[in-house]
């Protein structure tokens, strides 16, 4: 197999397996948050961006409204617009490929592509990681949701603790310096101060405004926060996925 000899495709496969497995926890937590199986699958098939999906169900689980959940997920997805621009410059896809490429534009596919130097390898890496993650993410979401449905009361199994761990796990790899850590602490404190004052879900949106202002004011290096959840090239200590395109 020529494809399996491509370094980018090999990286993409391991990224797809690791990321796909996240889908297990997303599926289980989504049904625990009160979404049904079809709603959970709609998010994985159509929204297809792990952080935004976790954000949506995280707000719903906390008693937030649909509009708060949608807003949190939309704001967390803004970075995908930046990635889309990078992929467009990097791969120069023909017009008919733009929509499928856009749908597969996520942290992991972009990081896999930008970590390669050769344009053909960048292209293979992007499509292999994008398609691989899409297939496995959806398969494991289904498995997780079915398992979650069978488990019943979420608190009994510590699934609410699993949600806390999942969000911390998504945040952790993005904090590599003092400035992003400061942003994280400020936003967490702002959120907790706001919890008793405004309806559920809204504190997260207030934190988003604060984060955007901190970003505008120039706190932190330009590409902090744009790291993939699964680092495709761990030995290069974070040079991949930083939007160097």
């Amino acid at each position: 197999m020529v494809l399996l000899q491509s370094p980018a495709v090999r990286v993409a496969l391991s990224v797809a397996i690791a990321t796909g497995l996240y889908g297990l926890s997303f599926g289980a937590l989504s049904v625990a948050a009160g979404l049904d199986l079809a709603q959970t699958m709609a998010l994985s098939l159509l929204l297809f961006s792990g952080g935004s999906q976790f954000a949506f169900i995280g707000v719903i689980a906390g008693g937030g409204s649909g509009i708060s959940a949608m807003s949190a997920s939309a704001l967390l997805g803004i970075r995908n617009g930046v990635y889309g621009m990078q992929v467009n410059v990097l791969l120069r896809p023909p017009r008919w490929q733009k929509l499928p490429a856009a749908h597969l534009t996520i942290d992991e596919s972009v990081a896999t592509a930008t970590g390669q130097a050769d344009p053909a390898e960048q292209r293979r890496g992007f499509w292999a990681a994008g398609i691989g993650v899409f297939v496995l993410w959806n398969v494991f979401t289904l498995v997780g949701a079915l398992a979650g449905n069978a488990m019943g009361d979420p608190a009994r199994w510590g699934l609410d603790g699993a949600a806390v761990a999942a969000f911390l796990g998504l945040l952790w790899p993005r904090i590599r310096a003092k400035e992003p850590a400061a942003i994280a602490v400020v936003c967490a404190v702002v959120t907790l101060v706001a919890v008793p004052l405004v309806p559920p879900g809204v504190p997260i949106l207030i934190a988003a405004v604060v984060a955007a202002l901190l970003g505008l004011s120039g706190l932190g290096p330009a590409t902090e926060g744009l790291e993939p959840d699964v680092e495709p090239y761990p030995s290069e200590s974070g040079s991949a996925g930083k939007g160097t395109a």
Partner: protein, 103 residues
């Protein structure tokens, strides 16, 4: 609007956001300020979601079994455990804390 409506709207917004990047000229998004805002938004939202899921119960702040999950997950991440292990450790810590009498 029903939950289904918000779910489908969130999906449409996600696809539109990604596609927009393919349509606009690179110059528009490729400036340090835009990258900074996208990056700090991502960090700020994930920090806010972590805090809410750990300490909020409706509109009140509580200390319950989820604090154990937060601490255990932090230790697992510090030990460089993979994501799925971190999630499982969080669930286990919350379940054990409840067995030991935490709310």
């Amino acid at each position: 609007m029903t939950l289904w409506g918000w779910i489908l709207l969130a999906c449409a917004v996600s696809i539109a956001t990604k596609f927009l990047g393919f349509l606009v000229p690179a110059k528009l998004l490729d400036n340090p300020r835009m990258l900074r805002v996208a990056g700090s938004l991502t960090i700020g939202l994930l920090a806010a979601l972590t805090a809410v899921n750990a300490f909020a119960s409706g509109q009140s702040l509580v200390l319950d079994a989820r604090v154990a999950a937060l601490g255990a997950a932090a230790v697992a991440l510090w030990l460089k455990a993979p994501f799925l292990v971190v999630v499982a450790v969080g669930a286990l810590a919350a379940a054990v804390a409840r067995l030991l009498g935490a709310a």
